[in-house]
Symmetry: C2
Subunit: 307 residues, 2 copies
């Protein structure tokens, strides 16, 4: 029998990778034969965290069969492994809406409206009386810092703060100091082409009749990115055409100010204006206080488009 | 603001009613403004349990809006309240497969592959440090006995046995003695018409292109029911035609022997033979050891039909 594969969503962020590592260790401690894998390479931010805590990047897989799988930090099939409909899903640990997900048989599913999957995992370790080793605590802490933008996101809950404090004590780091370094590590544009930069953290959603792509990048200097606006809009348009998206949004999130600039291509752009109460001019809008795709973009756009 | 409504599936069984009562008490203890309601009248078995523990049957609702809702013992929309797609689902506590369920925003979802929703709830009371009062313990115990056929179903897990022991101690009943009385209470045909009897515990499933209805009745005297086979087949055919089902299965489950007779109308009956490894003759087959719709019927039929 193949090992059970544990993985997060495509274009993995620190929670997708960290939760896979965290759940795999918990499952192994409870006697399952599991392997944490990933649906892509770590981001700059995730690579910084893995390196900081002496962890290797999980093996990248393209398909999962014939293994059984456990999903973390996602449930929608278009965000999962290519052959997700052919494999048995044993567990889902997630903090997103439920959509485009179904199983033939009962499973274990733990979804909570908290800021980070690793917050749920931290509770599960406690419930099962399993100790969290330092590297796992470190990557899980990194995931919480990343998903909540160091507790600044409206998705952040008291449960996230409590889990982070617990994990920081095990990891032996100062949350603010380490968090600042982690978030800054994720903002470097590097020398990747723009097409790769916008693809780093991208998710697709079916909203009524429309396929909507929402990408997010973080920055400490949004002017640096907005100076290259046309380059980004061109890359987004090319991506939209190639993949057949109707609408493509890019959130450029300032991790210090906790606001986002939005770039928008495709139709209906008016849905973005209506959903978010912003004005789109020349493919750009400003989202005051907008930092969360999951809480401040997806439900509002779904409400407008799902008619 | 309306109270949050907590309810189980249509054609409620003892778990649908018991889990709604159990979750509503837990939520109220934690400070939420909730009401346990139901999508139908209690069965004979459920009425016996409610009466035994001095509980009133929950109010029956047809629609839920404008209230927010918490679902127990189901997630598929065709098993839920008529306006389920118009309301916000805050929580789901369930032990079934996931299908035809989606939300616009993150929620709390706790699904475990155990025999009964009330087993999960028993853990949730412990995790939250809330005591279970005797009536709630009694109806939750009744749900576990009912769903696991007094621990004889293949869906029954150690977690169900442990929860039942804990609840029985609070409820102050002997599990075997009370369980036998409870299951027998549910087997009386009474003086209802056959069309009502087959509708008592019925669920619809989308399996590939087919709509499949699976009803279950329990008995301590299957001969009594099989003597009226033609009457049952006629009622099933009428129901199938009226509601547009492709295939209609009735499980007649002997709660003592832990086997089921199956009555089958509609097409493809060959799918039933293939899925269950039985032979259907004159609309009848015998399912040796078959007692669980969820574990021994639905996944197997889905596998055959979902092509």
């Amino acid at each position: 029998m193949s090992k059970i594969l544990v993985f997060g969503h495509r274009n993995p962020d620190t929670d997708a990778i960290g939760a896979a590592i965290g759940l795999a260790h918990l499952e192994a401690a409870l006697g399952s034969d599991v392997e944490a894998v990933a649906l892509g390479r770590p981001s700059l931010e995730t690579a910084f965290a893995l390196d900081h805590f002496g962890l290797d990047a999980p093996r990248v897989i393209e398909t999962a069969a014939p293994a059984e799988v456990m999903l973390v930090d996602h449930n929608e099939r278009q965000q999962s492994v290519a052959d997700i409909t052919d494999v048995t899903v044993l567990k889902v640990i997630d903090h997103h809406r439920i959509a485009n997900f179904e199983t033939a048989a009962p499973l274990y599913m733990r979804v909570e409206p908290v800021g980070c999957t690793c917050t749920i995992l931290t509770r599960m370790y406690a419930e099962n009386g399993v100790e969290i080793p330092r590297p796992e605590a470190g990557i899980m802490l990194s995931a919480i810092i990343s998903d909540t933008l160091l507790f600044n996101s409206p998705t952040c809950t008291d449960a996230d703060r409590a889990a982070a404090a617990e994990l920081a004590a095990i990891a032996g780091v100062d949350v603010d100091e380490y968090g600042d370094a982690l978030l800054r590590a994720g903002t470097a544009l590097g020398d990747e082409p723009v097409s790769a930069i916008i693809g780093r953290d991208s998710k697709s959603f079916e909203m009524g009749p429309k396929t909507v792509r929402v990408s997010q990048i973080t920055t400490v200097d949004s002017a640096e990115i907005l100076d290259r606006r046309d380059e980004f809009l061109t890359a987004m348009t090319a991506e939209k055409e190639a993949a057949g998206y109707d609408l493509y949004l890019l959130l450029i999130t300032d991790v210090i100010k906790a606001d986002s600039d939005l770039l928008v291509v495709g139709e209906p752009a008016s849905a973005v204006e209506q959903a978010l109460g912003v004005t789109v001019a020349d493919g750009h809008a400003f989202g005051k206080g907008v930092v969360s795709r999951k809480k401040q973009i997806v439900p509002q756009l779904t409400e407008v488009l799902d008619v």
